[in-house]
Symmetry: C2
Subunit: 540 residues, 2 copies
């Protein structure tokens, strides 16, 4: 794994670029500052895909990414892949018109504590990033030369240092002939990571004040500035100023430059990646669009080939029914299982994966974005091999090109897993599937005098698993569960309940009574949402 | 200075309490996650006090405090004060219904980087805090025993560890007679700082599952739990459970318990403390009320005696006119000046200040909340002495009690400094002063065909200082400046401008023309606000 920070970003960029350009596929993972903006954005089993998108958009446009992992996989010999993994810390820049306000969910930072996340690296040395409107604003700002006013620079440069430096230049100019050169050092007082910003401001300030000088920076020595006194003839050249702006802009774009490299059409792999896609779109591309349809359309332009290993896993479980290989679709468990001897031998000739660097060897670093990205790529490769050769006689299995895997994996392409929604996945390159929550339960009060209370229903039902309850009126409610077994257990337990009857929801029998008021009632969720109720009541 | 973290909070609490209870006055300072929620909340020279409050309320209810400093000053001998300073790191808790979402302004975290702020200490070991509605919600949650559902606990405890532990208890119960006791150890897998939360959940879970056991924690060994099998007679006692809840609640209240200690009427000192007061109110007391009037009224109940050293300094400058003692009202400069030999001897017999601990000696740690609080208290003491004896013959100056200072300082009590507003201060215990922006400028286009453009005016005027411009229509604008000198310079520079006339704003002459549309035009600010324009245009 290569850790990439603001201070080492430029140095690593060539390796990042070559790894991406030569990759067969790239796995990604993000860590972020929060999940739900408020209880209102909490997802539930009744959510349509559009509703889900609107909730996630509302949350994800306020939270941000603090770490992103990329693992570039490349077939290097007949049956071995090289995984080059990068772990980037990201921190939003503040420069000129851009000063991002982002939301933090207290529990999300605390979650990261469990995995030893380094918050100092994050704030002190996180790589900047900009989406398109932010790039536009910075360009406009640089163009307007709006920087020639002290108050605006307050966060970027120490005004006293700047003034002292300008005085030195003024003194020197008086004593200097035209066409003479001098080397002046920029004071060292400020924090080093702002060097690009600083040197730009310094030069902009000098140019503004002293019309008759020429300024250049000695290569590799950001703090040494060469100043030449110009003859009038030489004073028209503004080219260097433009180069300066480009350099500063590049520096502020930071990770966005890497994101651009991913756009070439290389397969992008993630695990349960709906949220990752929304975040990347919003932070590195453009603010999330108004409708899910627009998002899907534009996402296709950005990443035409996307694979979600959680979706693949959930939809191929039946294939390995005789085996205990895939019992759990969490990334860590999948990786553990598929990297075990059983996982390796499930279908022979599975390709091996070699790390490009040594620091992941024998280690497990869950929830480090780089490591999660690597695990995700590994899982994708193993699943691809298994699914390609599952029904092929073992005597006929041969190491194959990556393109053969892609052909086999086509049914899973651009399908993104959804948890706790009314569908199990969304499709980026076409219409979403119809709702597959066939295990809805219909609850009815047996006596008109007995009113259904959502909290009571939640208390009863959530003993059997995760449930969401929607009371449509005082006599009727719908219950969604995540598992068929949970629905079955509830049906059994309440077969002869004294106050309520619970039956399978029957579209023909219970509609249109229910359909009519389907979206009218408040939705309450078992587990996490009981809290939501308590906390939202607090605000009443 | 005593650094107080979550892990050392209980240990330091007795010293904190005794220092507060015996203090003559307490200086406070906060560091926070951001300043302005968006450009809309940017303050300007036209703001009335109510407008200012609404803007600040909007921002401060979303940002939060990450460090708070308290410096308790106590007169310990005839002319010497002991300063006991505490520097608390604060991080919002996430427990049950409380999972705070707070806003971060990217530049505010970066500002803290300049002063070596430790973000790991902040997130990993920050002390929790709760305001009243949050305390109410947690109590309700605990009362509802809502914790007996796996999904809700997801951030607080490792479900597998809990289940494994319960299985051990179940096995043991089968083999155990009534009235027998056993000692079982809680597994050690989770992060240590959650120990109170963990042990509470563990016991709540055990009690819920096994009705016939009695659970107690061995003193000082949070991870050892004693379990007794009860006879039916013993099973009614729920007292211990209540004690448990109290302990957990106390732990979650964290710094709010310290805040409560401050409420006894001890003088509270801050420097430019409007923002500090709003933040403390919102985070440790109650959500900020709807109107400034309500805020002031309730603030009086919380802190009846508040002194702002920036206000005191700005309003006594004339008194030292012959001296260069108070040239600058920034905290660091004030401290430097007043602790210099000149500051010490300005009025004889000034009291000395001794640190209770050694770690601040010979150090300067600006923007560490504890150190800023200490400097603020020091400045208050020196200014009090100077103002008390300024007009007293030096032969008659005597070391005095602190109460004498308070009598002299009464004119400054409960007056809080305002920067960039239409008044220089607000009064917490009475009506605010009338607007004192007498240096408003009135701009008029000389030719009806020449339209005023706010950006152009800003460009022209901000060369002379900080200005806010309000264009009321295409022919007229108002300009507010922070200094009389700036207004004077603008008047001079534009005396014979070809397109515009600039005059002093005359309430009688220019009203009602202007008054009518006074609040209609957009307000643009020089300096920082030029950026606001650029960035808000971006969103159009």
């Amino acid at each position: 794994m290569v850790e990439v920070l603001k201070s080492t970003f430029e140095e690593h960029l060539p390796l990042i670029e070559s790894s991406i350009k030569s990759a067969d596929f790239i796995a990604v993972d993000t860590e972020f500052t929060g999940l739900e903006k408020s209880a209102k954005e909490r997802t539930n089993l009744f959510d349509t895909t559009e509703e889900r998108y609107q909730k996630m958009k509302c949350s994800m446009s306020e939270f941000t990414i603090l770490q992103i992992g990329l693992s570039a996989f490349r077939r290097q010999s007949s049956n071995s892949y090289l995984a080059t993994t990068f772990n980037f810390y990201l921190y939003p820049p503040s420069f000129g018109p851009v000063d991002v306000r982002f939301l933090v969910q207290a529990s999300s930072f605390q979650f990261l504590c469990k995995y030893d996340f380094d918050f100092n690296k994050y704030v002190y040395d996180g790589i900047p990033y900009l989406n398109k409107p932010q790039i536009f604003a910075v360009k406009k700002y640089l163009h307007a030369r709006a920087m020639n006013n002290g108050r605006q620079r307050v966060n970027e440069v120490d005004e006293d240092v700047l003034q002292a430096f300008c005085s030195r230049v003024a003194e020197w100019l008086v004593q200097t002939e035209n066409d003479q050169s001098a080397v002046l050092e920029v004071a060292d007082e400020e924090i080093p990571e702002l060097e690009y910003v600083k040197s730009f401001i310094l030069r902009a300030e000098l140019r503004e004040r002293f019309k008759n000088i020429w300024i250049s920076v000695l290569e590799g020595q950001q703090r040494i500035v060469r100043i030449s006194k110009l003859s009038k003839m030489q004073m028209k050249n503004a080219m260097e100023n433009e180069q300066d702006k480009e350099k500063l802009l590049d520096n502020l774009k930071g990770f966005t430059r890497v994101f651009k490299m991913l756009k070439g059409g290389v397969p992008i792999i993630g695990h349960n990646m709906f949220l990752d896609l929304l975040l990347m779109y919003d932070k590195f591309h453009e603010p999330l669009p108004d409708t899910f349809e627009e998002f899907k359309k534009e996402m296709q332009n950005v990443f035409p080939y996307v694979y979600d290993t959680k979706h693949i896993c959930n939809n191929t479980r039946k294939l390995y029914r005789d085996s205990s290989l895939i019992n759990n679709s969490s990334l860590g468990m999948l990786y553990q299982s598929l990297s075990s001897p059983e996982g390796q031998q499930f279908v022979i000739d599975t390709p091996s994966v070699v790390h490009a660097t040594d620091n992941y060897k024998g280690k497990s670093l869950p929830h480090e974005a780089g490591y999660d990205a690597y695990m995700c790529g590994f899982v994708f490769l193993r699943l691809s091999h298994i699914l390609t050769f599952l029904d092929v006689k073992s005597t006929e299995v041969r190491p194959c090109r990556f393109s053969r895997y892609l052909t086999e994996m086509k049914p899973y392409r651009n399908k993104i897993n959804i948890i706790r929604g009314n569908v199990h996945y969304v499709r980026l390159d076409g219409p979403d599937p119809p709702s597959d929550r066939t295990d809805l339960l219909f609850v009815q009060s047996k006596d008109p005098s007995y009113e259904l209370h959502p909290l009571q229903l939640i208390r009863w039902f959530s003993r059997y698993g995760t449930v969401d309850v929607q009371v449509t009126n005082s006599q009727r409610a719908l219950v969604a569960t995540t598992h068929y077994k949970c629905s079955k257990d509830i049906l059994k337990a309440f077969r002869s309940h004294q106050n309520i009857s619970v039956t399978k929801y029957n579209k023909w029998k219970h509609s249109p009574v229910i359909r009519k008021c389907m979206w009218a009632g408040a939705i309450l969720s078992g587990g996490a949402c009981l809290l939501a109720l308590l906390s939202s009541r607090k605000k009443d």
